[in-house]
Each structure stands twice: as C-alpha cells, then as structure tokens.
Symmetry: C2
Subunit: 232 residues, 2 copies
Amino acid sequence: MTETALVLFSGGQDSTVCLAWALDRFAAVETIGFDYGQRHIVELACRGQIIDRLRGQFPAWAARLGPDHVLDLGILNTISETALTREVAIETGETGLPTTFVPGRNLVFLTFAGAVAYRRGARHLVGGMCETDFSGYPDCRDDSLKAMQIALNLGMDRRFVIHTPLMWIDKAATWAMAQALGGEALIDVIVEETHSCYHGVREKRHPWGYGCGQCPACELRARGWTGFQARP
Amino acid sequence: MTETALVLFSGGQDSTVCLAWALDRFAAVETIGFDYGQRHIVELACRGQIIDRLRGQFPAWAARLGPDHVLDLGILNTISETALTREVAIETGETGLPTTFVPGRNLVFLTFAGAVAYRRGARHLVGGMCETDFSGYPDCRDDSLKAMQIALNLGMDRRFVIHTPLMWIDKAATWAMAQALGGEALIDVIVEETHSCYHGVREKRHPWGYGCGQCPACELRARGWTGFQARP
C-alpha cells in the first residue's frame, strides 16, 4: 500500500512483530512510544536498539522507516494515584486488577496516536492488542478498538484504520508470524532485543529471550515459544 | 439523582453553566480541569474563584461539591509541535484551523475524564461541547461524543453517560439556562469570574464580562448576552 502507517511500538515482542507487519505492507512507517514510569523503562530502552537492528538488517524496511515519536505520559501515574472511592476499590478487588491499573490506557494511547497520525498524514494505526491471551483489560478487546476507530474518525474528521494483526492469534502464532515476515533474522531480533519480563530481568537467557522465567509475562512468552517450536 | 458526576470544568462560561447544571441534578459533583500552556492560564486561574463563589453563595450546591482534579496535559503542546507533513499542512490550511490545532483534543479530555471517573466511582461525565456555535472542531460534535461514550464504556467495561447540556442551544440560551439554575447570583458569578477572551484581557469590563471585546470569543459572548437581554 502506498500509504503511511503509525505503529504503537512499546519495544515488546508483540509490538515488534506489528512493526515488521507494517513494514511489510505500507510504503512508509513511523513509530510512537509512550513513556510513563518505572516498569516500562527497560522496555523503552529496547526500542532504539530494535529499530536500529531492523534498519541495519532489513534494507527494504530501512527505506520505509520514518521518525520515531516518544510522548511523555507521566500523567497516567497521576491518575493511578487518584484516590479510589470505596465502591470502586471493592469492585477493582473483585476483578483482580491491581489498584494502580489505569482504566482505558489503550484508549489514551490510541487517541494520542490518532493526533500524531493526523499531523503526520498517516492513515493507518497499528497496535498489538490481543484478545486471545486474555489479560483482563477491556481496552484490548476487538469491540473497544472498533468503537475507538469510529470515535477517532468522527472526532478528527478523518478516516483512520486501526489494524490489530495479533487480535485473534496466540503467542505461538505470533512467533510464526515473525518468522514468516523476517525469517530467523527477525526471530533473533525479538529473542535478543525485546523485553516482556515484569521484573525487568536481563541477566537470565532462555531460548525465547531474557527474563526471570517465573512471572506471568515470562510464562506466557515461554509457552508461546514451546508451541512455536512444536509446529510441524 | 443519587449518583456522582464529573464535570469537565475549564473555568469558562460554558463549563460553569454545566457545573451548575450538574450541581442541580446529581447527589455529588466533582470537577476536572486540564493544564496545557499559556493561553489557558487565565482561564485556569478563574476555576478556583468560581468554585469558591459557588460554594459560598449556594449552600445546597456546596454540600454536593467534591474535589477538583487538575491534570497536566502539557503533552498536547508536544503534539502540536510535531512537524506536519506537507499533505496535512495544505489540508489544514484549507480547513482554516490553525496549525497549532491538536486534533481530537476533546477525545483526549474525555478519555482522561473517564479514567478519573472510573477511579472516583462517578457514572456521569458532563461537558460544555456545543454544535450550535460552530467552532470547526469535529470533536465537539454530537456524533463524536456519542461514539466516544461507546468507546469509553467498552474500553473501561463501565456504563458512563456523557451529558452535553449545551449541545443544541445558543449562547443566549446558555445565559438563560444559568439564570434558571442560579438566578442573578449565578449570572453575576459568570460575568465577574469566567473568562472567554482569546487575548486574556481582564482590564475592560462590559455588561457580559471582561475581555478585549474584539476577538471571536468576545464577539460570540457579547452577541449571546444581547440575545439574552432581548428575551421576552
């Protein structure tokens, strides 16, 4: 396609595969990241290295890769510090989401991505949201994203398309998508440079990458890798 | 109603009337404001004075008025500084919107208001958006706000209601609504304490308030006042 895409790129495995997916499809691709507090600093630090490696190892993609936009969203921490009323605190406990949870975080990301895409003349927004690995976050659901596309398009008087190539596939299929898009070279970029571990562990190397190997994110990633290796 | 409302309160005439409208209807009312750069500092400075006067002069409302939340949205300036591609620059010129325009600003406000409302247990969001005094901003349109309600509700797994009491009325009717809600005392608060002037002029006093009297915002306000005074 001759059009420009803006990829929501966190530096994690999913958004790296989405970036490759966009580079395979669109004439021009830009990236956007959001900086908000401690736990994501390791992930954000990976972003530049991933972009550098894609640029260095995939000449066709390098020609399409435009600027990276990083927005400071420290304000999300202000909101997560907003005192909860008792009613909501109870409800939150029941749904099992942590009280630091910022509801609708992905709606915030998409709205800012839409604003940047508007100014950059990009028609396509690409994100790694996924319903299959159920995260408990309603703002990752397909319905939410389709409603958001309509709200953005009406509110900005544009015709953006929100693409979510990982919405209905599992982590094993995400690894397979990476291999189909960029072969072993892309698998290696993902294993070496992307970060999922909740604890930010970079010391321990596994076949699927670095991480503590214990937290839910590591477990999910390891299970996906095992499924990918077991594919015929 | 026995429920809590969160009012998008900028300190301007429209959002002050919306705040009175909410105080007249809901058991508990909180306010939210957004701080983003120079032109709005006068307006933001008015917020505290307006809230203080409502609290002092309207005992029934004072009992319902909860905390005021102010969020730093300096990030909007970062986005408006994002270089425009040539294509968009031309389009923007044609629509007559300034290049500092942040598309979808009201979507950003509503998403953050939704996140704060979620944490505060508020079910109602109230905003002064209006189609009648056509501003050229698609994110003030009724369609955009209704789509946004659906996106917020799906994305946060809640049932918020977005109220826009000024959507279909003109500025004369907004003054009349203020009078119906709070009589001459509320009219006086709006004249004395709310700010509309684009140039931030506070030195010149008109029957309808302070301002340069020349800019589009002052003209709109003056015309509304004249229409209000001419009512039977």
